[in-house]
């Protein structure tokens, strides 16, 4: 994918073309995977991925001069989804290599959590997010943007077309809700 193509894709996605969004997702996904692989080779010992750094790196590689906030927003929306997918698949594959399909914890550090760098179980978050998405898609999107693309409250609010105050309230609620789902899973 050359840069000019991506800019065009970003614009097409911005104008609401779902096919363009699909191709954008593909491009971003491929690039993120490449960056993530390289990063994992560097940090093989801990298998620690830093999603925010990866997404930023991918952005700089793919679209250094794509103009404007609109383009950035579509890129990060696609990147957040792609990142989530990569982490989940990574965790699944690691799990299945070890125990024939069982669950395995993969930790993320450096995620832009406001309250500090807690370890998060990717698969649990993913499962809870999917559940949340079926109930309240907007909350799930917000969480995805924050967790997996490292967006700030303000940027995420702009990306979703809501006010920062609403985003803040949504974020507080979604976080508590997710914590509840994960704790419930622990009790199972």
């Amino acid at each position: 994918m050359i840069q000019g193509d991506l800019t065009l894709l970003l614009q097409a996605a911005g104008s609401g073309d779902p096919a363009a969004y699909g191709r954008l997702y593909d491009a971003v996904y491929a690039e993120l995977r490449r960056v993530a692989r390289a990063s994992m080779r560097r940090e093989a010992a801990g298998h620690t991925l830093q999603p925010t750094a990866l997404v930023n790196e991918a952005y700089l590689r793919l679209a250094p001069d794509a103009p404007g906030w609109e383009n950035r927003r579509h890129f990060f929306a696609a990147a957040a989804e792609a990142m989530r997918r990569i982490l989940v698949d990574h965790a699944r594959r690691r799990g299945s290599q070890k125990r024939g399909g069982g669950l395995e914890r993969v930790t993320l550090s450096g995620v832009d959590l406001p309250d500090g760098g807690n370890d998060i179980d990717v698969l649990l978050i993913d499962a809870a997010l999917t559940e949340l998405a079926s109930e309240r898609p907007r909350l799930a999107e917000l969480v995805t943007l924050r967790y997996f693309a490292g967006m700030s409250i303000e940027d995420a609010a702009r990306a979703l077309g809501i006010s920062p105050a609403t985003a803040k309230r949504d974020w507080a609620f979604a976080r508590a809700w997710l914590a509840d789902r994960v704790e419930a899973r622990r009790g199972a």
């Binding site: 609620f173 976080r175 508590a176 419930a184 622990r186 199972a188």
Partner: protein
């Protein structure tokens, strides 16, 4: 869980102080909601949410003690979707069950809601090769679970390898799988996730028995529709994309039908035969796009080629089947290669339409008969040829065609296995002769060039039959009969009734001469003639032929009991239903009704509730109920028949089209024309696909559509055009003297009555009346119906006394044919009253209308528009 309410309260609490929160909680009437929000606030205030979970707590060793009513005994499996436990149910019966507990994130409420939708359908699954689903619910922490019959077996592939079963043994087990799948398909249930780990084998008295598990689960856990995230959809099957059909892997999924399961069955069969899968989907194919592409594009190696591969692994795989790679390849070459190939065609239209067809072909292989799958190139050529001539799926021509395919396959087999020629039975001989005949057709019209020369199916058949008849005299009678019947049915299929009648008549005569020794061929010939006469509107002859077939088969099955030879029993059921249909059309509803009901009972008792005959029986009884004005029953029966047809991939079949017609009729009669229109537009498309756009059937489909929309005033113009289109197609196909032409004139006339174009109405109705009188007789309800329309038009044209006279005739005819209390008889009576009233004969009109109103209220209900119209007329007559 109501997240909106939860968040509203949560947000309000965050804004409030401690006292304010307590007030909020106090004013909240939903205690569960309040408790949930208290817990969320607590989590929020614990500061950094403790989302970290230790590895230990996720460990598979953490096992619940109880789930729902079930006591957990042990964990017996763990997969991509969740865990499986062996559990004990204590109430209402004590038994062991398998509990499948799904992972989080699969949307508990939706899963259970979707399961509830399926529950009724699942409840009717009762088959020795299916483990039934008993229950579904949510665990304490909100994960969905399913309880199903516990099957202590092992995966079919593993079983076969452990026992080193030879190919025959494997095919025998696979036949059981097909039987189970077919049973479910006929009840409208598609598995969607067939794979070896869902097909378990146990031994009962030393004999292996297959049970298919997880029916209904894939549907409940899959969200259909384009709006779902492809990741989520494919994600839950990520464990086993190897058995997934191309249409399932597509990003915008097609409606899944029986052929999806056929595909998965084909992959399982491939693996049973060869020990390997036809292709392996990259495990790393994370992007669904990649997965879909791999499944759609990977070209599977033929099973025999896979078996012949070099290497230690191939040797080991062959050994597990008691063979060498070479002998295994030899065993698989030909039939089994083709059968597998046909089952896993990427284009589902080219697959077997049902598990039953697949099983049938395997059985043909076992009996050393030619398989339908055949060499791919041959079927492809034939298919193309046939499509060009629109001969293929014309239902009756289908019979001819299957004889043709069968014959060609036979000839090929005979060439390949010359040493077995001695065993060739009479049927094979017949098939070869049919082949020779059809080969002659192909010789005249090379499939590759016929399109350009524009030869019609009719011309092709004419030329073939001329040649055939020249040679016929030298043939044995049974061969002559088979050829005549095949060709005659082909003519019937293209609407050439005269020629069809001549040929089928000859076939019947030949079969009769051979008499009771061969009841099946005799019955088939008789039923072919019966169907033809029915098409022609000669109901009496049609009924006679069907009765003769029923009697011939009844003698052969020992007094008509249905538990004898299965083919005999099936044909007997068909014969009785054919008879019921003729009786229904000639308005002998009581006899038709008891016949069809008896067939349903018989099939249910002999465990054949799910066969094609059963669907036919549901359909037929549904039509009879509709004719008896028992609309609710009719709708239920027809809907059941339709969903079974859809599930078996027969959505475009002649029967499915007829079922939708019947359903649409009921919908119109019960005041839902818009729903009916939808079904009928679907039919228009199905018929055009199957017969082409110059066929009588296509004309009938236009007529039916027009019928439905002629109840919608904005669509009168559209309806008129549709009728005219139907008339043009029908009269050019059949000539004027045909029942369908008469029917269409009648309907067009009825439309003109609505649009108040009295001249046109009178003309059309009169034409219909005269045609029907000649074809069906003066007292036939159809004739009476047209006469009634004619009378109404005449009345409007100021010819009231003529109209009155005609209506009295109508009422008499209907009283005689349908009975005095039938809605149509009452209708005629009401109209008679109206005409009397309009002529000022109030005293005469009053008793007529009053009686009609009372009876109509009883038969159709007081709210029915007809009843209300009668009431209004009555009110006017009584001066209210």
């Amino acid at each position: 869980m109501n997240l909106d309410a939860e968040q509203a309260l949560f947000d309000a609490c965050l804004e409030a102080d401690a006292a304010g929160r307590e007030r909020l909680f106090a004013s909240c009437s939903d205690a569960a909601l309040a408790a949930r929000v208290r817990r969320l606030l607590q989590l929020h205030e614990q500061g950094p949410p403790s989302l970290s979970v230790g590895v230990e707590s996720l460990s598979p060793l953490a096992m619940p003690q109880r789930i729902g009513h079930y006591r957990i005994l042990e964990r017996i499996g763990e997969g991509a979707m969740g865990e499986v436990y062996l559990a004990e149910q204590q109430e209402p019966v004590r038994r062991r069950v398998a509990l499948k507990v799904l992972k989080f994130g699969l949307g508990t409420r939706e899963v259970i809601a979707r399961f509830e939708l399926e529950r009724q359908a699942l409840a009717v699954l009762a088959h020795p090769n299916i483990a039934g689903i008993l229950d579904a619910g949510a665990t304490g922490d909100g994960r969905p679970y399913f309880a199903m019959e516990y099957v202590g077996g092992i995966a079919i592939t593993r079983y076969c390898d452990e026992r080193r079963l030879p190919i025959e043994g494997r095919l025998a087990l696979f036949a059981q799988v097909c039987a189970g799948v077919q049973h479910a398909h006929l009840r409208g249930i598609i598995h969607r996730d067939l794979k070896p780990s869902n097909i378990l084998v146990t031994e009962i008295d030393g004999a292996p028995a297959c049970r298919i598990i997880d029916f209904g689960i894939a549907k409940a856990t899959t969200t259909a529709g384009a709006d779902t995230d492809a990741h989520t959809r494919i994600g839950h099957i990520l464990g086993t994309p190897d058995y997934m059909s191309p249409e399932q892997a597509q990003l915008s999924p097609l409606e899944i039908d029986a052929r999806t399961d056929v595909y998965s069955l084909g992959i399982v069969l491939y693996e049973l035969l060869t020990g390997a899968r036809p292709y392996s989907v990259t495990r790393d194919a994370i992007a669904p796009e990649t997965l879909a592409r791999e499944i759609a594009e990977s070209e599977p190696l033929r099973p025999s080629a896979r078996a012949a591969e070099a290497g230690a692994d191939a040797v080991r795989r062959a050994q597990l089947r008691g063979l060498t790679p070479r002998s295994l390849a030899q065993r698989l070459r030909g039939d089994l290669d083709w059968i597998v190939h046909r089952a896993i065609e990427k284009d589902r239209n080219r697959r077997y339409a049902s598990a039953h067809e697949l099983a049938d072909d395997l059985e043909r292989h076992a009996r050393n008969e030619a398989v339908l799958a055949g060499p791919p190139s041959w079927t492809y050529r034939t298919g193309r040829f046939v499509r060009r001539h629109r001969l293929a799926a014309a239902s009756a021509a289908g019979l001819f065609l299957s004889a043709l395919l069968f014959g060609a396959g036979m000839a090929w087999l005979a060439r390949e296995t010359a040493q077995e020629r001695d065993r060739a039975n009479a049927e094979a001989e017949i098939a070869k002769r049919v082949t020779a005949f059809t080969a002659g057709l192909f010789g005249m019209a090379n499939p590759e060039s016929a399109g350009a020369s524009g030869i019609t199916a009719r011309e092709l058949l004419d030329a073939g039959v001329r040649r055939m008849e020249a040679e016929l005299l030298r043939e044995r009678p049974e061969i002559r009969a088979a050829l005549l019947e095949a060709a005659g049915s082909a003519y019937r299929g293209i609407g050439e009734h005269g020629e069809a009648s001549r040929l089928i008549g000859q076939a019947v005569t030949l079969r009769r001469e051979r008499g009771a020794a061969e009841p099946l061929p005799l019955a088939r010939a008789l039923l072919a003639e019966s169907a033809l006469r029915r098409d022609q509107g000669s109901f009496e002859v049609a009924a006679d032929r069907a009765r003769e077939a029923v009697q011939a088969l009844g003698r052969a099955t020992g007094g008509g009991r249905l538990d004898g030879d299965s083919e005999l029993a099936a044909t007997l059921a068909t014969a009785r239903l054919d008879l019921a249909e003729v009786l229904r059309r000639s308005s002998q509803l009581d006899e038709a009704s008891s016949l069809a009901a008896a067939v349903i009972d018989g099939l249910e008792q002999s465990g054949a509730a799910g066969t094609a005959e059963y669907v036919y029986a549901l359909f037929e009884l549904g039509r009879i109920r509709a004719a008896q004005d028992r609309f609710a029953e009719a709708e239920t029966l027809l809907r059941r028949a339709h969903s079974m047809q859809l599930a078996t991939g027969g959505g475009n079949s002649e029967r499915a089209v007829e079922t939708r017609n019947g359903l649409a009729d009921v919908l119109v009669l019960t005041g839902r024309p818009a729903e009916a229109e939808q079904l009928l537009r679907q039919n228009l498309e199905s018929v055009r696909l199957v017969y082409g756009d110059r066929h009588g059937q296509y004309g009938i489909a236009w007529n039916n559509l027009a019928n439905a929309i002629s109840d919608i005033p904005e669509k009168y113009g559209e309806a008129e055009q549709a009728y005219l289109k139907a008339l043009e197609l029908l009269s050019s196909m059949y000539g004027l003297a045909h029942p369908e032409v008469a029917t269409t004139y009648n309907n067009l006339g009825a439309l003109y009555l609505k649009t108040r174009e009295w001249d046109k109405a009178a003309q059309a109705q009169r034409r219909a009346m005269e045609l029907r009188e000649a074809l069906l007789g003066a007292t036939h309800p159809y004739t009476a119906g047209s006469k009634l329309g004619y009378a109404l038009a005449l009345n409007r044209l100021g010819r009231a006394s003529e109209a009155e006279q005609l209506l009295r005739e109508v009422q008499a005819a209907l009283t005689q044919s349908l009975g005095p209390e039938h809605s149509r008889t009452l209708n005629a009576q009401y109209y008679l009253g109206v005409i009397l009233k309009e002529q000022g004969k109030t005293a005469e009109a009053l008793p007529v209308v009053r009686a009609a109103r009372e009876q109509l209220a009883r038969v159709l209900g007081a709210d029915h528009p007809r009843t209300q119209a009668a009431q209004r007329t009555l009110d006017e007559l009584e001066g209210r």
